[in-house]
Symmetry: D2
Subunit: 144 residues, 4 copies
Amino acid sequence: MDKANIDKRAAALIALFASAPIKATTGMELSYEDGRAIFEMPYNPGFDHAVGGIHGGAICTLLDNAGWFTAALQYDVWIATVDLNVKILEPASQEGLRAEGRLLRSGKRLAMAEMELRSASDGRLVATGSGTFAVTSISRQAKR
Amino acid sequence: MDKANIDKRAAALIALFASAPIKATTGMELSYEDGRAIFEMPYNPGFDHAVGGIHGGAICTLLDNAGWFTAALQYDVWIATVDLNVKILEPASQEGLRAEGRLLRSGKRLAMAEMELRSASDGRLVATGSGTFAVTSISRQAKR
Amino acid sequence: MDKANIDKRAAALIALFASAPIKATTGMELSYEDGRAIFEMPYNPGFDHAVGGIHGGAICTLLDNAGWFTAALQYDVWIATVDLNVKILEPASQEGLRAEGRLLRSGKRLAMAEMELRSASDGRLVATGSGTFAVTSISRQAKR
Amino acid sequence: MDKANIDKRAAALIALFASAPIKATTGMELSYEDGRAIFEMPYNPGFDHAVGGIHGGAICTLLDNAGWFTAALQYDVWIATVDLNVKILEPASQEGLRAEGRLLRSGKRLAMAEMELRSASDGRLVATGSGTFAVTSISRQAKR
């Protein structure tokens, strides 16, 4: 696909995410760099677990998003997360997080990506993951 | 461990989760049945993705919690999620969700659990998962 | 699907596996019980690792097979393993192993199964796993 | 650790694998490059499935080995595979395979690695994986 089309699709995906309720709830921001989706989440105390660290659920959400939006850039239709594997290497606490996707495969019916998540403050590797996404025939028009 | 101690630990874990910021943010409720942690999340539109379904991140958070609190019942110390594998079988939308854990192993250093997540309205299987948790030497006193 | 057809397909899959070179190499045996594929592998010292236990690769092969043949029973075409997650709970050594699959989902394009593997001698749980399989349009005629 | 010690440990691990029955059964070869374990397996028809491709079990064995021997280079003791996640991107058939590990983390109690597996003939990416390994207190002396 040519660059103009990729840029157009990236803009549409950024607009799609901007309309997602989970964006407002979490404060995550999406951008693209060379075909990779980048998700940044400034520290949001509402996603802490009881002992004061950032909950694994927030880490999974960032990794799922980074993989999904990296894979989605290859398609005009909705894709569905099928498998998500997450490894948490270190705890994170009171810090921004940044997840990035990398495309492994984009087939007619399945796409795969791998992802990593780092601390936005010191860059250390907090978690890695991989995802498998099914290509559907559903339009990805945002619900209004 | 005897039943009185397990009940005491379950009560402490329920109190721990009650103090977690993520509980207030998501609206999840924890209970225990025969040593299995049950997490229920009434439908919360703030966790929808852009196309109107429930975001995979909420599903992962419920599964992580169900596995973590099932495994944690075996220990007095903090455990850390190391690996989380999630399979999403079907989309979920505008419905409550209920995740349940089942202990696979509780060793001196590692615990493992498997989890399933169903629709609270029609009981259909939405997702399954498994988790590996490292047993730490850290107290699990809630942060105040 | 009616029982006669399932039995016919099970017989065809058992014949398919009987023709597989990996069957001769490993000594694995396939049977079906209530739609679940059962793989048994008598102790084969050729699959030991250097320290005298059974190599994780043999465990993965058994789990992959148990999931694949459980899912394949739902289809007339070839399916391809896409994702395989394995948890090894305990070492196994100098003992037969028995893996069993359980169908989680059989859709038009993707099937999912979960699997467990036990010692054939004492029944203890050695490993668990889950698999995602893509339904292809390729015939599963054995190669001659 | 200094380079002389790493080289000594790599030599010991290569000798360990040379004594493993599974090496003779599969024909896999281990080498190290910059701390990464490389496993090569010339095409071995005994690991074909019934339809003539290389069985997923051989792919898993190569990935498990590449991750395990990459992580083991950081330790003097036995490590145990706890979690292994494998994604198969493409079928492989009648070709040599080459798996390579990359260390993600080496802690006091847990190590993690990611792995990729390529065709030895055309270099295409066939599978990726990740592994979690528990550090034990057991010596890794080969069994005689």
